[in-house]
């Protein structure tokens, strides 16, 4: 993914808990929403704990370790910001907290593909695309740097 400033990048403009998630990222933190009562994680954030029903939510710093759950290489882009980036990889990762999110691999070279496979361990690194948007991306953890 380009490190250049990207004025047309698709950018969350939501309210509520989702806005808080993205605000933490802009401030350099990946935080996940968790139930204050039973400590069940949820992502995307939700208003009520699906496990215990509590409305009491809290934000907890993520361990930023994950497993690649699925990956695809996109050849036909549909969003203008990605039109000149194909082919590119998109991933679903399972964070060690047990929640899943869509992301991209980083760093990427030309072509914009990674060597990541399903089952690989990754760490989540933060990448500021614009002043308004910092994305959590997946970087390989080499065998020399085993997950703790």
């Amino acid at each position: 993914m380009s490190s250049a400033r990207e004025p047309d990048w698709p950018t969350p403009a939501s309210g509520g808990a989702a806005a808080e998630f993205w605000a933490f990222l802009r401030a350099g933190e990946l935080r996940l929403q968790r139930c204050r009562e039973c400590h069940a994680y949820a992502h995307p954030p939700v208003p009520v704990c699906a496990r215990c029903g509590s409305l009491r939510r809290e934000w907890v710093a993520a361990q930023r370790r994950a497993e690649v759950w699925s990956r695809t290489t996109v050849h036909a882009p549909v969003l203008p910001a990605f039109a000149d980036r194909v082919p590119y990889d998109a991933l679903v990762v399972r964070l060690d907290e047990g929640v899943f999110m869509v992301t991209n691999p980083t760093p990427v070279a030309e072509p914009l593909l990674s060597l990541l496979e399903v089952g690989d361990r990754v760490e989540i690194v933060l990448h500021a695309v614009t002043d308004d948007l910092t994305l959590p991306l997946a970087r390989p953890i080499t065998p020399a740097q085993p997950a703790s």
């Binding site: 695809t72 996109v74 036909a76 047990g98 994305l135």
Partner: protein
Amino acid sequence: MLPDAREGAVRLDRHAAIVGIGQTRFAKDMGRDELDLACEAVLAACADAGLDRREIDGVASFHVEQVDEIDLAYALGFERLRFMARTPSGGGGAASVVGLAALAVASGAAGAVVAFRARNRSKFAGYGADPNQGGRPWAKAGTRLAGYQQWHHPFGVAAPAQEMALIAQRHMHVFGTRAEHFGAQAVAQRFHASRNPDALMRRAITLDEWAASRVIAEPIRLFDCSLEHDGAVAVLVTGRDRAAHLRAPVVEVLAHGQCDGPIHTDLGRFFAETAFFGERTNGARALAPHLFGVAGIAPSEVDAAMIFDHFTMAVPISLEQYGFCPLGEGGPLVAAGTTRWPDGGLPVNTHGGSNGEAFVHGLNHVPEAVRQLRGTAVNQVAGARHVFVCGSITDPSGALILRRADP
């Protein structure tokens, strides 16, 4: 008498029947708006049934439908509209929209309910601002995102093909499913379509041609994808007793059930909650035993299946989730030719499905089920008595088991 119901599966054969099917031509850029197309399909269904259009008193449609119930009622001169309902999740409603109609007549809420879907996908037609009208939804998303889109679009995941690719790849990883298994379904459906005069794609393809078609998002290739065009379909449902006095052979709604399920537009939630990979039992996989239970038949007694196929990968996964085969065996089942007419043991999408006949959010699959049970399909399964129909497997959805009435 109330219908027999078990865990959300409802037996309706004594209460509801499909009495009419209608559809427009399917083509690109027809230059007709959705109301125009819907009216033609509904009138065709009325003519098929021999039922006066003014007697329709209920409308069931998809939440993405652009034609308002009241506009359809005024245009077609319904004397009174007593029942209106919509299904969620696009193709998730492919079977449920007919199920709603059946539940309405079974409860007495209405006497003749039409389920319909009309699409105008022309990019340059005079469509409105609704993301579901004309063009492509993601083209209207802009760069300021809320809702589901904020979790996908910043990472370049925005089209259903990209979302479904990530689901398919996990299935391939867990079970060893191969892209060629999806290709085998694409080839089978294009063969079915090649014999169907109503189909958009009249040329059969080989597996080599499938493999040569361009990759959209691995493992999904162009020939796995549904078609984009204009057209409409209508399905007319009345009470079972009334059906016996109408023109067409009676097709009973033997069983219907709806099911929850995570939606492909929210992959974070999808992977946390899906039953696809064996960790859980929810959605279609939970519904299936009760659906077949109230119907009083086993999946092996189904003669043909019409499966919502936004992408061909949906066919083997649906077969697994609804219990036609164990988890992970859907791909090999398709590759072995099981879903291919005429020799396969369970022909699927015998009209050509969404990559061969047309994409009308799967509602075109219901008339094909009815034709099979009437014995009038171009790719007729000899003696078909039970046909299974299901909506999108990657969304909140539902299914039907339809049965040919004894003469």
